[in-house]
């Protein structure tokens, strides 16, 4: 039942099971080392830094506010600190370790040149409020990146400050609201496809819009006729993901945009899946008004265990004047400008023919500079030709996976034409009460990070596989073999999958207990 492996080694589940005979005194298993909580090994008096001792008699200017009570921190020396975190790190799966086909997350290789460049003191050790004469290089990075983003998307301007994708969505929707309000046109509804990322409806609701679903066709695409029928004077915007979350390109997007514009609304495009089309298709050519770009997906800045990300938003000419500060825009002479509060009025007068109408500020300072330097490094490395190849290889890999597995796994949109950079499967044929979750946990034992599960919601037991362009054919072939074997076991109703994973640092965790009696902070044991 197990995938063939070259060494001929066969996993023996009873040995790895803690109830088996191979139990160690420490609980460690060779290279897999258990690590206590920091608070169980550290001490209040231990420190890993050398600073002058506190002089209790020193005069202070703290008024009556001196902190008398212990803070409740513990310290470790440097060797202990490095070991604590190194041991913890080994309980994590990362792209550096293996294949990470997490759909809609674009877990591609993170080039180390990016890291090296972001750490140049000229970028890393610069304060955001330094006088402008001392930060010309930083502003040039922002301008250059803006230039790339504008050219790659065929859009007019870009708001640089949003901190991540969802923040970018908010930026786009608020720009749309501001543009509508500026023409005295209060609208109430944002249309979102059922298959959208959860951030889309959450964002629209945050901007005080009512969310209505757009139906999909059985082929997994936006139902153009139903959408057209719903458009009207109350619809502020349509939020569309393209390629969509079913992994398909929306061929009608141009027509959708035209219809939305004719009805006085705007088109927001969720750029989460831009990796499929970067360098190949420019959203501006499809009539998009606003789109966020996840620099941590398409442009290879690291995910870091959940961030930081960066979500610049490219804007059409109609939305540009409403962008949050600071933003960058290209003028007719081809020059890209960085616009902050102080230049904003003058710039708006000169180029937008009116007073400043920015909807405001979304964050302190200028945005995720550390991500800008990484993304720009990546773009310069790939160039226009390399980025085109990125999209092509990402799409090729996904189609290869789709066509290699569609005979064994339910692939709901296999007949809808080629997929883009993601292959979507469902759990329809699983037997014995086995679920997508069981298969995902089985993937862990096989040494892969599981695919995205139960998303999009429109497919039962969805499994969304995004290989990205940075996997070799050998790596993808091994994944296909393992996935096929697991799918066969799931279809056959193999009970043993219900307890997987067997070999991970932890077996399945009790999420119900965690949520019923939340324990979110370490507390000292009562003695």
């Amino acid at each position: 039942m197990n995938a063939p492996n070259k060494s001929g080694w066969k996993p023996q589940m009873e040995v790895a099971d803690a109830t088996g005979e191979h139990v160690t005194t420490t609980g460690n298993r060779a290279l897999m080392l258990e690590e206590p909580l920091l608070f169980e090994i550290g001490h209040a008096e231990t420190t890993g830094v050398d600073l002058p001792e506190v002089d209790p008699n020193a005069a202070t200017r703290l008024g009556s506010l001196k902190r008398e009570e212990p803070i409740g921190l513990v310290g470790l020396t440097e060797p202990e600190t490095v070991r604590h975190y190194t041991r913890l790190s080994r309980q994590n799966y990362g792209i550096d370790l293996g294949f990470f086909p997490l759909g809609s997350c674009t877990m591609k290789h993170n080039p180390r040149l990016n890291e090296k460049m972001a750490r140049l003191p000229g970028f890393a050790d610069v304060h955001p409020l330094q006088p402008v004469s001392t930060i010309q290089g930083a502003l040039e990075v922002m301008n250059e990146l803006a230039h790339w983003l504008i050219d790659l998307t065929g859009m007019h301007s870009v708001a640089m400050s949003p901190k991540a994708g969802a923040h970018g969505e908010l930026c786009g929707i608020l720009s749309i609201r501001a543009a509508l309000e500026a023409r005295g046109d209060a609208r109430e509804v944002v249309l979102v496809p059922e298959s959208a990322h959860g951030t889309n409806p959450a964002t629209a609701a945050f901007a005080n819009y009512r969310v209505e679903n757009i139906p999909a066709t059985p082929q997994g695409r936006v139902d153009l006729e139903a959408l057209k029928a719903r458009l009207g004077p109350d619809v502020a915007a349509v939020m569309i993901t393209n390629p969509n979350t079913c992994g398909l390109f929306e061929p009608d997007l141009r027509e959708i945009s035209d219809a939305v514009h004719a009805a006085g609304g705007f088109v927001y495009c969720d750029g989460a899946n831009f990796n499929a089309i970067v360098g190949k298709v420019r959203p501006g050519d499809l009539g998009v008004d606003a789109m966020h770009i996840n620099l941590h997906k398409t442009f290879s800045t690291p995910h870091g265990g959940g961030g930081p990300g960066s979500g610049p938003v490219v804007l059409s000419e109609a939305l540009a004047p409403f962008a949050p500060l600071p933003y960058t825009a290209r003028t007719a002479d081809g020059v890209v400008h960085l616009i902050e509060e102080e230049q904003a009025d003058e710039f708006a007068r000169e180029h937008f023919g009116g007073e400043l109408s920015s909807f405001g500020r979304m964050t302190a300072f200028h945005g995720q500079m550390g991500m800008f330097t990484r993304a720009l490094t990546y773009m310069l490395s790939h160039g226009a030709d390399g980025l085109k190849q990125v999209a092509e290889d990402a799409v090729l890999n996904a189609n290869y996976i789709l066509r290699s597995l569609e005979d064994v796994l339910h692939a709901p949109f296999a007949d809808s034409g080629p997929c883009m950079h993601e292959a979507l499967f469902g759990d329809k044929d699983f037997g014995g009460g086995l679920t997508t979750l069981d298969l995902a946990k089985g993937m862990i034992d096989e040494g892969f990070h599981p695919m995205t599960v139960y998303f999009p919601l429109v497919v039962h037991g969805a499994m969304l596989v995004e290989p990205t362009e940075t996997e070799s054919k050998a790596s993808i072939d091994q994944f296909i073999t393992a996935f096929r074997s697991l799918a066969e076991r799931a279809i056959a109703g193999d009970e043993s999958l219900k307890q997987a994973p067997y070999f991970a640092p932890r077996r399945r965790l009790d999420e119900t207990a965690a949520a019923r009696k939340p324990k979110l902070k370490w507390e000292p044991q009562e003695v």
């Binding site: 909580l37 008096e45 890993g48 830094v49 008024g63 506010l65 902190r67 803070i71 470790l76 440097e78 913890l88 309980q91 370790l97 990470f100 460049m117 890393a124 050790d125 610069v126 955001p128 006088p131 290089g137 901190k163 991540a164 969802a166 969505e169 608020l174 951030t199 959450a202 901007a207 390109f249 190949k280 420019r282 499809l286 870091g304 265990g305 959940g306 930081p308 509060e341 405001g360 302190a364 500079m369 330097t373 490395s381 030709d385 092509e392 090729l396 189609n399 290699s404 034409g417 995902a440 862990i444 599981p450 998303f455 994973p501 077996r507 965790l509 999420e511 207990a513 965690a514 979110l520």
Partner: protein, 458 residues
């Protein structure tokens, strides 16, 4: 291309398996109008590591590096020494290239780290529960206001005038779309913040009052009375902290009765980075408010064999489940910066944190006293931690900052930069001092400032 493993042979074999003649067969759904005939024009082609490095180094070289000059900027971003081992840890691929820990069996490293991080932040803030981070201090501030409106079911926030202007701008921007916000335009120039004026604006409609501690002018004051006044009207006290090192020396916001404490964590472990990525900290004093919190939470549990482990929990608050009813639309947070913070905090420990805070304060006192001796300069603050405001008699501080930069000194943040057009603040200069500041740096600033003032007087 060095990041693309497929060979042309691979590509050919894979296309054959798919049944496509060429790659463009896979892009047939792209409408004619959007098809391109080659790489996008106007952009350069691929480049070697060496070439890219040369280009980026040239750009980096155009910036003045904070560590190369006497440096006194703060106003929400502080330059502290980050121990070398912090960067070693965060560059481990298992942390750097991991995703949000949705598969807890293979993400215990990130999850245990987050549990420790949440504990460190909660204890530092004097709170019961902290989340696993938000984008930065300013967005955390808005999330606190939004949470207060959910908890109290009221929609007016009273913002202190001495809240960082970028933070109040963010709150006002977001509130245009959701609720009512009252705010002072700028702080009054006086030695003590006007807390009575602030409490007098709290009424029955108030969801929360937002106060920065230490405030934008570096002032610190006991907020217990504000907490009592807020609670008496059924409002929450939100305390914003932009300098966590201060909490090694001064009372925690939780101790003074703050209900929600938010802040910027950049000072610990993260570095200046020209403003981002930074680290939003978010904590609540009363555990019963936890289900109204935004962002991810990591909790302790056990696995199927009874071993302790950690999971993301209370996820039903979040957008991927609750969609339009979520507590926030946040998805990505600031995980790697949280790791950097936590590693640095582990190296410091209780002892190191106390010492770090004391050293910051000691040097700041020296700087305040020295600068106050410069003719034409006076110190505004009574109490402060590591940042204070000086008044430059009759001189616009912005011009002084620029002139100092020309003389190789990054002398502080002029309030004119933060509040363009607010006349009474134009002579105010915000000066921050940390453990990285030397007594020589302080002397250089004082001397150059004196020279500038003299030069001008002639």
């Amino acid at each position: 291309m060095r990041y693309l493993p497929l060979t042309d042979t691979d590509r050919g074999d894979m296309l054959a398996k798919i049944g496509a003649d060429n790659i463009d067969d896979l892009f047939v759904d792209v409408p004619e109008v959007a098809r391109l005939d080659g790489p996008i024009r106007g952009l350069p082609m691929h480049a070697s590591e060496m070439a890219v490095e040369r280009h980026m180094k040239r750009l980096a070289g155009k910036n003045t590096v904070a560590g190369d000059v006497p440096f006194f900027l703060g106003a929400g971003a502080y330059r502290h020494h980050v121990p070398a081992s912090v960067d070693t840890v965060i560059q481990r691929g298992e942390f750097l290239t991991a995703y949000t820990p949705y598969q807890p069996e293979i993400a215990q490293g990130t999850l245990q780290m987050l549990f420790e991080f949440q504990t460190q932040v909660a204890n530092l803030y004097g709170c019961a529960v902290a989340n696993a981070s938000l984008y930065d201090g300013s967005t955390a501030c808005w999330e606190a206001v939004a949470m207060a409106t959910r908890v109290t079911k009221k929609n007016r926030a009273v913002l202190s005038g001495a809240l960082h202007p970028h933070y109040s701008e963010v709150v006002k921007t977001m509130a245009q779309f959701t609720g009512d916000v009252i705010a002072d335009s700028a702080p009054a120039i006086q030695a003590e913040p006007d807390l009575e004026g602030l409490t007098s604006r709290i009424d029955e409609e108030t969801a929360c009052v937002v106060v920065q501690y230490p405030d934008i002018l570096g002032r610190i004051s006991d907020l217990s009375a504000v907490a009592e006044a807020a609670h008496a009207k059924g409002a929450l006290l939100v305390v914003v902290n932009t300098e966590p090192v201060a909490l090694g020396a001064i009372k925690s916001p939780g101790e003074m009765g703050a209900d929600i404490v938010v802040g910027e964590g950049q000072s610990i472990g993260v570095g200046l980075q020209f403003g981002g990525p930074y680290l939003g900290l978010f904590a609540v004093r009363d555990p019963k408010h936890v289900r109204q919190m935004p962002g991810r939470l990591c909790g302790e549990t056990v696995d199927a064999e009874g071993k302790r482990g950690f999971v993301l929990t209370l996820s039903t608050r979040e957008q991927h489940i609750r969609r339009e009813k979520a507590t926030s639309n946040i998805c990505t947070n600031s995980g790697l910066c949280a790791l950097a913070f936590s590693v640095h905090m582990t190296l410091l420990g209780e002892k190191g944190m106390r010492e770090l805070a004391a050293e910051n304060h000691r040097l700041a006192c020296i700087a305040a006293d020295r600068l106050a001796k410069v003719p034409g300069v006076s110190l505004l603050n009574n109490a402060f931690f590591n940042e204070f405001t000086i008044m430059l008699d009759g001189k616009p501080a912005r011009d002084v900052v620029r002139a100092l930069a020309d003389r190789g000194v990054l002398g502080g943040v002029s309030l004119g930069r933060l509040y363009p057009g607010v006349e009474r603040l134009q002579q105010a200069l915000l000066v921050a001092v940390t453990e990285t500041t030397t007594e020589d740096d302080i002397e250089t600033l004082a001397t150059e400032l004196e020279a500038l003032i003299k030069e001008d007087a002639q």
